[in-house]
């Protein structure tokens, strides 16, 4: 479906994507995850043919890039943008037309989608009269209006309230059932955990980890404890079997060294405080990401990445 081979892209001497290879099978929901500035958007822009890779090649639908190929991809960019003065329906039809859809078909489909995403009644209003969330939904409609087989969504949930987030998630699942391939790119790794079958974690332009989500979870599941604890956190960190403690405010997520008995850590915790909740659990994707980056001797500098993006 989508094949990326050793793709590299530099901007002014900064490596945005560093010989990245990906293979995405048809009909799945694929998560492209990583912190801001990891190279996700650059990768997607190269898939869409907006920028060209310096090295490597990209094949979509087993074909090299062409206009026809692009007409079968739907792309929701991270930077949303619409013509503010245009009418909603006219705008949607225009965006479908430049994807090669005849205007009659486009307008029929647009009306259906507008209803489905609860925008009915706004067809003849100008885009600027829509709220931010409505514009988001409108932008999503424009992504799928040309009936694409591959849908690439870059940070699709930013700016959506929980209800609309759920609406969008339902549609994504449905698209998968229809046999479409969906690529979700986001820095909010935990938000898409439940959606994705396969994921790829990237950092600083390079692949950190790739595979089936279930396998990855399995691999990292044994050595994490969720703990609600009243007491001194430092005492927990002193236990030799504890690799890392992440504080989520209400709860702590403790990553253990391999071959550590979680019960050892529990009794250690009880000795130094009060345990209100203890659960042997999965590591969150975020923690897996950090663990993998540390393992590879790399630094995790979300902040640095964020400021570069801004």
């Amino acid at each position: 479906m989508l094949e990326i081979n050793n793709v590299t892209k530099q901007f002014d001497g900064v490596l945005a994507v560093n010989s990245l290879s990906l293979m995405i099978e048809p009909g799945c929901i694929y998560g492209l995850l990583g912190p801001n500035g990891a190279g996700k958007t650059t990768t997607i822009r190269m898939i869409m043919g907006i920028i060209e890779p310096d090295e490597g090649e990209i094949k979509v639908f087993d074909e090299p890039f062409s206009e026809k190929v692009r007409e079968r991809i739907g792309y929701l960019p991270e930077e949303r943008g619409l013509y503010r003065k245009m009418k909603v329906l006219d705008h949607l039809v225009f965006l479908a037309e430049i994807k090669g859809v005849p205007s009659k078909v486009a307008s029929k489909r647009a009306v259906e989608w507008v209803r489905r995403l609860e925008l009915a009644g706004w067809e003849d209003k100008s885009v600027e009269s829509l709220s931010k969330g409505m514009q988001q939904k409108m932008q999503f409609i424009s992504t799928v209006l040309h009936d694409p087989r591959l849908v690439i969504l870059d940070e699709p949930f930013t700016g959506l309230d929980p209800l609309n987030t759920q609406l969008l998630k339902d549609i994504i699942v449905e698209m998968k059932k229809e046999g479409r391939t969906v690529v979700l790119s986001t820095h909010l790794m935990d938000q898409v955990e439940k959606l994705c079958e396969r994921i790829c974690l990237i950092n600083k332009g390079s692949k950190v980890l790739e595979g089936k989500l279930a396998d990855i979870k399995m691999e990292f599941s044994q050595n994490v404890i969720q703990l609600r604890f009243v007491g001194e956190r430092e005492q927990l960190e002193r236990h030799p079997g504890v690799q890392q403690v992440s504080d989520f405010g209400q709860e702590l997520s403790i990553t253990l060294e391999p071959d550590t008995d979680p019960n050892d850590v529990l009794s250690h915790a009880i000795r130094h405080g009060r345990v209100e909740r203890f659960e042997l659990g999965e590591m969150s994707l975020h923690d897996i990401f950090i663990a993998k980056v540390r393992e590879g001797g790399g630094e995790v500098d979300d902040e640095d990445a964020q400021s570069r993006q801004a």
Binding site: R45, M48, G49, I50, I51, E52, E67, R70, E71, I73, Y75, P77, E79, R80, G81, L82, Y83, R84, K85, M86, F94, L95, E97, I98, K99, G100, Q139, S142
Partner: protein
């Protein structure tokens, strides 16, 4: 095909705007005012009687002078109201000061000091507030010359009546030869019409070219650009914009033309219109040709400027040198008029930046050899192709750059690297 979709959207969105309607109506009004008002003032101003005081130090030449200055207004009253100022040599300064006061308070339009030795030296001085009224001053000068010549001749012993007959002015009538036909008195009209058309070319090329630039900056700012570029080649996007905006300009012309035609059919102002405007279908055809080519050439340049800028202000600054090229063509018409088939006019009309306006002007004034017209169009087409290709490259890279504006060396680097 997709280029046409972009063009259609651009076209419809612009034509539906209220500002288009307003611009279409106000455009000719403002342009007409800018062109006609100075012309009308120039035409109308001699209609007012001029009152001029004369300090005649010779004490005797006033009579001949006032007889020579016998122009009348249409109503038959004399154009110049002359007053022979009485003075003595002692209070000369006082007299002049009081005359200056009269000029200042618009009682008189000016005063002339005729020195004693005018017959020998042949010079006098006019003092006035409005020394720009060239027509009147020329009349005064020639009347004084006549008077002085008469005085010199009578010094040689000739009879005054005889002298007046001999010194009668000659009027030069101008007739332009056009394809062997005589066109009496029309050439001023031709210049005037040409000037109107040139102003229209200038305004519309600049206005719509800048419109392309601004719309690109706007799309960059509201980030529509990324959605568009995921569906379109940057070349289609740029081309579509140029086509769409250019068609809006043509539509505006069509509206104006229809308006003008219906006016002249109506007969309402045909007389008035023909007085100021004269043109043939050749003019119209070349006007459209040079508008289309000129707009396409300039708008590709404006488009590349827009693609490397992030704000309107930035773009406005960068486009100044380009606009200056257009302004230049407005400065040189006099030089072209003086010698429409000279080497300066020929060379300038072959430089693509100036071709649209200068070549159009030459065609109107004095049809150049057909090969020159063909060559200018060929050069312009070639330039559009080259600037289009360069612009597409700059556009392709510049359009997704936010933040710092690229420097010229950086742009040159892109040009070498980028494929369209």
């Amino acid at each position: 095909m997709k280029m046409l979709r972009v063009a259609r959207r651009e076209y419809l969105e612009r034509v539906r705007k209220k500002t288009f309607l307003i611009g279409t109506i106000l455009g000719p009004v403002l342009m007409g005012a800018a062109i006609l008002v100075p012309g009308l003032i120039f035409e109308l101003s001699p209609e007012k009687q001029k009152s001029v005081a004369v300090i005649d130090s010779t004490g005797s030449i006033f009579k001949e002078f006032s007889e020579a200055l016998s122009d009348t207004l249409e109503s038959g009253t004399p154009l110049f109201k002359l007053r022979n100022v009485q003075f003595t040599q002692e209070d000369m300064d006082v007299t002049r000061r009081s005359l200056a006061m009269e000029v200042e308070s618009d009682v008189i339009d000016g005063y002339i000091v005729i020195p004693k030795d005018i017959v020998e030296e042949g010079s006098a001085t006019f003092y006035g507030k409005r020394v720009g009224d060239v027509k009147s001053l020329e009349r005064i000068e020639s009347a004084l010359s006549t008077a002085v010549s008469a005085r010199r001749l009578s010094g040689e012993g000739m009879d005054y009546g005889q002298i007046r007959r001999l010194l009668r002015n000659v009027e030069l009538e101008t007739i332009q030869l056009h394809k062997g036909e005589e066109r009496k008195g029309e050439f001023l009209l031709v210049y005037f019409t040409t000037f109107i058309f040139i102003m229209m070319l200038y305004f519309t090329i600049l206005f719509w070219g800048v419109a392309v630039m601004r719309s690109i900056v706007e799309e960059k700012n509201n980030r529509v650009i990324e959605v568009l570029l995921s569906s379109l080649r940057s070349f289609d996007l740029m081309g579509g914009k140029i086509l769409g905006v250019g068609s809006v300009g043509l539509t505006q012309y069509a509206i104006w033309a229809a308006f003008a035609l219906s006016l002249s059919f109506y007969g309402l102002s045909t007389g008035m219109l023909n007085q100021y405007v004269t043109f043939s279908w050749v003019t119209i055809v070349f006007f459209v040709v040079y508008y289309v080519l000129g707009f396409m050439f300039y708008s590709t340049i404006f488009a590349s400027i827009g693609s490397v800028c992030n704000t309107d202000q930035e773009a406005q600054q960068l486009q100044v040198p380009v606009s200056m090229c257009l302004v230049f063509t407005l400065i040189i018409p006099m030089a072209i008029l003086r010698s429409p088939d000279g080497s300066f006019a020929t060379v300038v009309s072959m430089i693509p930046f100036f071709t649209p306006i200068v070549m159009f002007m030459r065609i109107n004034i004095l049809m150049p050899p057909i090969w020159q017209v063909a060559l200018s169009i060929a050069i312009l087409l070639g330039s559009i192709y080259i600037s289009g290709m360069l612009a597409a490259k700059i556009f392709r890279i510049g359009i997704l750059m936010y933040g710092k504006r690229p420097s010229l060396p950086e742009i040159l680097k892109w040009l070498r690297r980028a494929k369209t």
